[in-house]
């Protein structure tokens, strides 16, 4: 189903932010909308957005490819994106990521067996004073988790599991 049919109010609101002759500006917010349900943007959605904004499918795909928060492949329901840049690493982020992966029995870039969590290593998230930290990118957007330990992260994963079961 097209985005306009699926989320009519939101699409209208997004397009209203930009001058009508520059509606291409809405490509980024529309891509967030498109990947809301499955966690990635499929080919049909790219065609749909291209049609909506009068640009080519290649234009849309080039945006998906350029920005790290858009994905064209399925991964875990939640992407756990750990910052390991210099300031975080000075506060133990590398060890944190290593230990977390060890605990989950997966490597960076891999997904837990139940498909719930993918562990990723990412660039600076502007929370250098609260490391180790990561963000979760999931169906309900992006959330920060700061001053983290492996224990607290495992608790968070258990909590996510529980909400999934209840759904």
């Amino acid at each position: 189903m097209s985005l306009e049919k699926k989320y009519p109010k939101e699409v209208k609101k997004l397009l209203a932010k930009y001058p009508p002759e520059h509606k291409r500006s809405a490509v980024m917010p529309l891509l967030y909308l498109a990947q809301r349900e499955e966690g990635f943007v499929n080919k049909e959605a790219m065609q749909d957005i291209a049609r909506l904004l009068d640009i080519t499918e290649t234009d849309v795909a080039s945006i998906v490819g350029f920005y790290t928060l858009y994905h064209d492949k399925k991964a875990g329901k939640y992407r756990m994106q750990v910052c390991t840049d210099l300031p975080c690493a000075l506060r133990g982020a590398d060890e944190f990521l290593n230990n977390l992966c060890g605990n989950l029995g997966i490597k960076v870039g891999e997904t837990t067996e139940d498909g719930l969590v993918t562990i990723e290593s990412v660039m600076c998230l502007a929370a250098c004073d609260r490391a180790p930290m990561f963000q979760t990118q999931g169906p309900d957007g992006i959330k920060y988790h700061e001053y983290m330990t492996v224990d607290r992260t495992m608790e968070l994963i258990e909590a996510l599991k529980k909400t999934e079961v209840e759904k």
């Binding site: 932010k17 001058p19 520059h22 291409r24 500006s25 809405a26 490509v27 980024m28 917010p29 891509l31 967030y32 904004l53 640009i55 080039s62 945006i63 350029f66 920005y67 790290t68 928060l69 858009y70 840049d85 210099l86 300031p87 690493a89 000075l90 506060r91 990412v122 660039m123 600076c124 998230l125 502007a126 929370a127 250098c128 004073d129 963000q135 957007g141 992006i142 959330k143 920060y144």
Partner: protein, 415 residues
Amino acid sequence: MSHVLLRHRDIPDFNTLNVYKKNGGFDAFKKAVAKMKPTDVIDVVKNSGLRGRGGAGFPTGMKWSFIDNKNWPHYVVANADESEPGTFKDREIMESNPFQFLEGLAIASYAVGATVAYIYLRGEFWQVAAFLDEKIAEMEKAGYLGDNLFGTDYSLKIFTHLGAGAYICGEETALLESLEGKRGQPRVRPPFPPSYGLYGKPTIINNVETFTNVPPIIANGAEWYKSMGTTDSAGVKIFSLSGRVRKPGNYELPFGATFRQLIYEHGMGIQDGRSVKAIMPAGASSSLIVVDDKVLDTPMDYATVRTLGADLGSASVIVLDDTVDIDWVINKTIHFFKHESCGKCTTCREGNYWMRNLTERIHSGSGSENDVNLLLNVAKQMQGKCLCALGEFSTMAVVTGIERFPQDFKKAVKA
């Protein structure tokens, strides 16, 4: 001393409209729109000595005066893409003192005749954007945004726009490209945004912290603002302190405070009682300063930090203690720049790729002295040849690291 920018630390619930209003909120915006000509507003900001807080330190009022009045409409864009490793001040402003930032953005829009302003936030600030959307709606309801503000014919709308994970979009022309729905790659300058900006129209772009300075300047005057800070750098600055200090965080201090005050008084000194080896005053883009007592007692303003062979930039002070190896540090920063290079100019795209291969080899212990020389050579070759500041500044830590900490590299290639 009470805060000028981080006022939420002095006044509880400062991020609610009522509390903000009770404490003089929107008086400056009203004064500007109802009583001042746009050029008068620009003059006050000019005379205050306010300089851009995003890193370049360009005089704000002068930037505003460059707006091309022969080409319309005009736009104002807030750069909230905060992505420099070590910088986390704009996020605190937007989360805890949102109205002062929005009021500053509104005053700037009035000053340059813009009726639409955008806030470009990094995609990771998803929750911050949603929060700002609420605050903007509250301002609309209270009559501080919308049509015919304060009974005049001035109208203003503010919209948020989320990026999606690209450090380069903090570069102002890459930000504009991104806001236009394209890949975030810098434009060749000139023309500069005040003559050719968003959708090719005259545009003023400033950092979140810069805008947040504007309401108190309009309310209290240029002289008041200039009475704080130093002759070179007027006013106050938020220093983001990170690394091996005991109490990292944001500290608002007048320009001219020393590194020692920041690190030892506010940051409570170094973890495990160790000593400072090096300081990076402008995040990962920074040159490395070898630290001694003289350096620690250096006043932090744009001109004085330059005498130490570094830029103050966005004042994201990363502290490295004597346990940290500099070959590890530059391997970290170059991994970052290699990942974030937008790929448009060959120098930065290829240069960072080769620097990454070399820093990785040296840090892993399989490098030779020749690799260190080659790395220094590549970095120096890149300087002055990149399209934007990302490429230029990616070389800073490499060059100053090798030149100022040669013993660390000797140790790395021997090990």
